[in-house]
């Protein structure tokens, strides 16, 4: 793992040098922008929040041997469902409205994930193809929703929904803890959705490794034939995990609309679902690895701000670095597991002799 990071840093340096900049300065800038002040680190955590949810959504599906590329579309639909709930039920108090909005987001995304799930099980349509198509439909559907039924009547130029009522918003963590003078809530949108994300990680771990459902999911993912002979319904398990993956995907966009903007605009944050694939990959699809990977991505994202201010580098440099990092980790993991397998075989060989 360390080797992989070193390798990624090395390749990154070569690119930075090619641009005529000092790689040490670049890395120091990224580090400084993510850690110098509490509010810098809070932004890193804010960046990491949606990535934890999307990483988990991808990972649970992957454990069942399914590749949910559709987290992107699922969270977009989830945001629209949340917006619809927040606007139509605006009279309710926070204690009722906020949970309803969150459930709406999860439900909308779940519905969006159910379609490829059912298609997969009933017709055998491959989930990679169907989820990608569902992504396209989601983008168009939400664009239409923002343009027509959910559009704000305030101005004619803004393509966005009305502002959500205050009771639908997720409280800012700094405000709740009374430390907004250290971490100003006007700049940093770190909300309760971050600690909840960590709780969800624990819940997913428990589901995966301590419940019958998780057991069956892992068995189906690793050896469908053996699972089937053990009385596990492959199709049933796949549908269940698509629904769970979708529900998790529904949480991805909430920090953006309920913690930051307070409305759903046509320029909503995109790409969080695809980043989730990378996060799940880097976190080895494990609920303990995913927050760490999300943290790293959150830091690189924050570093882009610094590079934009202090260097002439295109901000894409950090995206390239992310890509190299993922590749290096994959290769490193493969090398390590091969070495382990060799050692295990050697031990077996010795035991046999």
């Amino acid at each position: 793992m360390t080797g992989a990071f070193a390798f990624a840093a090395l390749i990154g340096s070569v690119i930075v040098i090619a641009y005529g900049e000092d790689p040490i300065f670049v890395y120091r800038t990224v580090w400084a922008f993510g850690t110098s002040r509490p509010q810098d680190f809070a932004i890193v955590l804010e960046n990491a929040t949606p990535l934890i949810y999307s990483g988990l959504a991808v990972a649970v599906a992957f454990k069942a041997g399914l590749f949910n590329i559709g987290v992107e579309g699922q969270y977009i639909v989830g945001m629209a469902a949340a917006a619809g709930a927040a606007i139509t039920m605006s009279g309710l108090p926070t204690a009722l409205l906020l949970p309803l909005v969150i459930v709406a987001a999860m439900g909308g995304a779940m519905l969006w994930a159910a379609v490829p799930g059912v298609l997969k099980v009933k017709t055998g349509a491959h989930e990679v193809v169907t989820t990608i198509m569902m992504n396209g439909i989601a983008v168009s559907l939400v664009a239409w929703l923002i343009l027509h039924p959910l559009r704000s009547g305030v101005t004619t130029t803004d393509l966005r929904t009305e502002d959500f009522p205050q009771s639908a918003l997720v409280p800012n963590l700094a405000t709740s803890l009374g430390i907004e003078d250290v971490i100003p809530d006007s700049i940093v949108h770190l909300t309760w959705l971050f600690p909840i994300a960590l709780v969800v990680c624990v819940a997913v771990w428990f589901m995966m490794f301590r419940t019958r459902l998780g057991y069956e999911v892992r068995a189906v993912g690793s050896s469908p034939g053996s699972a089937e002979a053990g009385g596990v319904s492959i199709g049933g398990t796949q549908i269940k995990i698509f629904l769970i993956s979708g529900a998790l995907a529904g949480l991805v966009g909430l920090n953006h609309i309920l913690g930051d903007t307070g409305y759903l605009g046509s320029n909503y944050e995109t790409g969080l679902g695809f980043s989730g694939i990378a996060v799940a990959f880097l976190g080895r699809n494990h609920p303990a690895g995913i927050p760490l990977a999300a943290l790293l991505f959150g830091m690189l994202l924050r570093g882009q701000d610094g590079l934009a201010i202090l260097t002439e580098l295109p901000i894409e440099i950090l995206i390239i670095l992310q890509g190299i990092l993922i590749l290096s980790v994959v290769v490193a993991y493969e090398l390590v597991s091969r070495a382990l397998a060799r050692r295990r075989q050697a031990q077996l060989g010795r035991a046999a002799n």
């Binding site: 019958r212 050896s223 010795r350």
Partner: protein
């Protein structure tokens, strides 16, 4: 080297045809061949025997140029040679027929044989056919060179593979477990062919673990154990028991005491079972305390039959009853809860989840039972681990820890784990499909004993196997299966030749008659 019988070879003057000197081949963590010395004489049938993983095939693959050796060298006619590809081996007159044939199904016999040895851009097929048929006749091979491969039986395809090697002028022919895919009648034919080749001065290396066959056909027998040669002998100097002991390193029981159990009433009844083009009007009955053996060459519907019975597939028509209760089309889960147990032919695809731990694997099939669940669908891990610990102890599964992945177990121990799991809770019906495939002699003995224990305990056992030894050793009654049909019922007292008729759907009978 307790049994090295070098005496009668001493008078053979001159150099051997082929000599392997101190050949060593290592794979990561395993020494597959450890400084092996082996000589092959002209015109002999040399059997190479040993348990699975003893290094027989590896050694011959080194000779055939598929693996470069890590140490030692090979001499042909006393001259040191380097064989780094099958092409180089063929040029030296060494050919090999693998267990899995490499033939183009849609080509004719002649086209397959000349493929890669056309000798120019233009192919004179008629001449090739004539040449091949002459050669085949010379050795007593019955082959029609104009037939397409997919119209041939497995035994005929094997003959084509052998002819392919002979066409390339080989003097040494290596056969890797050639009888594994053959019916008894086909094996007999093959042996006649091999003897004809020997008379013509060809050298044959016969890799096998079937001791009766080796004693029948071989001139010399070399025994390998864990990559080393443990002895060399001749059929007249040894016996099946002695060979088994050399292979395993300890005494092995061949005749198991079959418990005398009165078969009770029919427990499993199958009537008119059909499945697409795989099973046709299958009728079966197995009584409590009875072992019914289903004999057949692989790929004749055995897998489908087992999968229908356990509930992995639904039949198109027909009725399956267990103790009078109709279980047709029920799910695996339902069948298991009624007391059906299943030992699959493919441990990795149907038995274990290799990257899950032993304790997780030990509960597969019972994960829905209340005794292994706490509330809210949470696994009762403590109880499952207790179960795993007990199963591993009772069935002597060699594992360091129940937390290890199933992939860390050897094949024999994986099979023991499956058996332990499936036989837990006193099943009423055991469906055992190729239960000893790929296991060594010691593990086979263990599995056989366990199956007999089931019979003694009054359970119905359906034994599906392509190994006739196994069928004979365990069954109370035997039926043969051919192309998805039950083709005959036999008793273990009937000779294998008689079973062969059923195993070839009656075609064997015609051959026997002609």
């Amino acid at each position: 080297m307790a049994e090295t019988a070098t005496g009668d070879h001493a008078e053979r003057s001159g150099v051997p045809l082929i000599a392997l000197h101190q050949v060593t081949k290592r794979f990561p963590g395993v020494v597959a061949n450890d400084a092996v010395d082996l000589t092959l004489e002209k015109g002999e049938i040399h059997a190479l025997i040993g348990e699975n993983g003893a290094g027989k095939s590896t050694l011959m693959r080194v000779l055939y140029g598929l693996y470069p050796p890590d140490g030692g060298h090979i001499e042909v006619h006393g001259e040191k040679v380097k064989i780094n590809s099958p092409r180089a081996a063929l040029a030296l007159g060494i050919g090999m027929v693998h267990q899995h044939f490499v033939l183009v199904d849609r080509f004719t016999v002649a086209e397959n044989i000349i493929l890669g040895a056309e000798g120019g851009p233009l192919v004179d097929l008629d001449r090739a056919v004539k040449h091949i048929e002459e050669q085949a006749q010379g050795y007593g091979f019955k082959v029609d060179a104009r037939k397409r491969i997919d119209d041939l039986s497995v035994g005929e395809q094997q003959r084509v593979e052998i002819l392919k090697a002979l066409f390339r002028g080989v003097e040494v022919l290596i056969l890797d477990e050639p009888t594994a895919v053959l019916t008894p009648a086909e094996t007999k034919d093959l042996f006649e062919n091999l003897r004809a080749l020997k008379v013509d001065g060809k050298t044959i290396v016969f890799i096998s673990h079937k001791l009766d066959e080796v004693l029948d056909i071989a001139d010399r027998i070399t025994v390998l154990r864990r990559g080393k040669i443990v002895g060399e002998t001749t059929p007249s100097d040894t016996s099946k028991e002695k060979l088994a002991e050399m292979m395993v390193g300890r005494e092995v029981l061949f005749r198991l005491e079959k418990p005398d159990v009165d078969s009770g009433k029919p427990l499993l009844q199958v009537e008119g079972l059909n499945l697409a083009s795989k099973l046709h009007d299958v009728d079966l009955q197995v009584a409590a305390g009875e072992i019914l053996g289903i004999a057949g060459v692989e790929g004749n519907g055995q897998r489908e039959l087992a999968e229908v019975l356990i509930g992995l597939r639904s039949p198109d028509s027909g009725r399956i009853t267990l103790d009078g209760k109709d279980i047709t089309g029920r799910s695996v889960k339902q069948n298991r809860s009624l007391g059906c147990a299943f030992v699959p032919e493919d441990r990795h695809e149907r038995g274990l989840v290799l990257n899950m731990s032993l304790w997780e694997n030990s509960v597969l099939g019972r994960q829905s039972r209340a005794q292994y669940l706490g509330g809210w669908g949470v696994l009762a891990i403590k109880k499952i681990k207790e179960l795993a610990t007990r199963l591993i102890k009772e069935f002597d599964v060699r594992a360091r820890s129940i937390g290890n992945e199933a992939s860390t177990l050897s094949g024999g121990n994986q099979q023991k784990l499956i058996l332990a799991r499936e036989l837990e809770d006193d099943p009423r019906l055991l469906i055992a499909q190729q239960p000893t495939r790929g296991l060594d002699v010691g593990a086979i003995e263990f599995v056989w004993k366990q199956i007999l224990v089931q019979k003694e305990a009054g359970r119905a056992v359906l034994l599906i196997s392509a190994e006739l030894d196994e069928i004979y050793e365990l069954s109370d009654r035997i039926v043969t299966i051919y192309e998805g049909r039950i083709t005959g019922e036999y008793s273990p007292q009937d000779p294998p030749e008689k079973l062969g008729i059923g195993m070839t759907g009656g075609r064997g009978a015609e051959r026997e008659a002609s």
